[in-house]
Symmetry: C2
Subunit: 226 residues, 2 copies
């Protein structure tokens, strides 16, 4: 494989990872839309998407493995490929999170409607924004963008904490809607996990970019900067 072919393969690997990330992000959006509208057909979409995400995860891993096996990548490319392998695992788990919200929505639809005084869509859009920004940091090989993701995580943690106490209060004062409150709480915690995955992705980007910066500054600007 020539250097140019190898570079093309790295770009393809990145491309595939980003397609998968877009699907995972959409899955979260859909699962929260299903929560908001109590729409089972959207749950079905999430479930189908999950299968596709899992398939892509395996393809990305295999591509990464093949590139490592066939080539002797330089340190900078090696760190890039390892970052892809780690980010891949986190994106797949964002997909799992969407699936678990969708499962919860299916259970909720069986119960009477009970408005909960917490803002799930807001938490979701923050968590999605974190995933998006972590991927932007990845695309642009920009550690400072990745760092901004880490600070956003505190906001999501705070919202999740606040949701916990709000819903606990609902359970104490209106025990008849405890099941609905508990489901809202599980969804809130799941979104907090999505934010954790975004944080992990951001940390992997920092590991990759910083390592590359320190060791091979000229190479990285040549091969991975946009």
């Amino acid at each position: 494989m020539t250097r140019i072919r190898f570079q093309q393969s790295l770009d393809e690997l990145k491309e595939k990872l980003l397609v998968m990330a877009g699907m995972a992000e959409q899955a979260i959006q859909r699962s929260v839309e299903a929560y908001r509208t109590r729409d089972l057909t959207i749950c079905d979409l999430v479930d189908h998407g999950e299968l596709a995400i899992n398939r892509l995860e395996r393809e990305v891993d295999q591509m990464a493995l093949d590139l490592l096996a066939m080539e002797q990548p330089m340190a900078v490319d090696l760190r890039f490929i390892l970052a892809v392998i780690k980010i891949n695992a986190d994106i797949e788990r964002v997909g799992d999170s969407a699936q678990s919200i969708s499962d919860r929505v299916r259970a909720l639809i069986e119960l009477p409607i009970a408005e909960m005084p917490i803002d799930i869509p807001r938490m979701a859009s923050l968590a999605e924004a974190m995933v998006r920004r972590a991927l932007q940091a990845f695309i642009e090989a920009d550690a400072s963008v990745a760092e901004s993701v880490l600070s956003m995580d505190d906001t999501v943690d705070r919202l999740n904490q606040a949701a916990y106490f709000t819903l606990l209060n609902v359970m104490k004062t209106q025990p008849d809607v405890a099941p609905q409150a508990l489901s809202a709480l599980v969804i809130s915690r799941t979104l907090e996990r999505v934010a954790d995955h975004a944080t992990n992705i951001a940390e992997d980007v920092i590991f990759w970019v910083r390592g590359a910066d320190v060791r091979h500054h000229s190479l990285i600007s040549e091969s991975h900067q946009p």
Copy 2:
């Protein structure tokens, strides 16, 4: 680096991962012991252990990266190193789970004692057994042991489901102890996540052993079997 030196380095990598895994397992045991005995000093031990686990995670990643960078590992060794990198991430998250149980115990200790009709220690020992067996599969490069971990996961899922409905009922009928019930529920879900990490580890072992089996059967029995 000679082949023998390289083999020694792989063994050291494996050794370090196993030390870390032992610490993560102990952290889960301790966090559940803290829950059982309401003992803050055990929570402190978990918190200290968490720092050590995070340090080891970085060391394992760096060792793996160095081995990939300095050598041109054959496919079988490559798959092994990639499995280590993936297992490493899951073990670190088992440590995180212990930390989050410990945080929950700290909150619980502030509240009056309320016995909950679920068996947290039993769930914990099942989840720990899964982690231990997944690592045994890794040590012995045995895909069938890894597969037995996957079926154990169903039991933990069932226990977690049952705990959910039991604790929901507590919240409905005794709203005054809703905070304690909710904490128990969060701990139950956290243990279910530990089981998920064990499952991920088992899947990585299968990926490594099967791939190795198919591609380089004679090499693997020479280099990675105990």
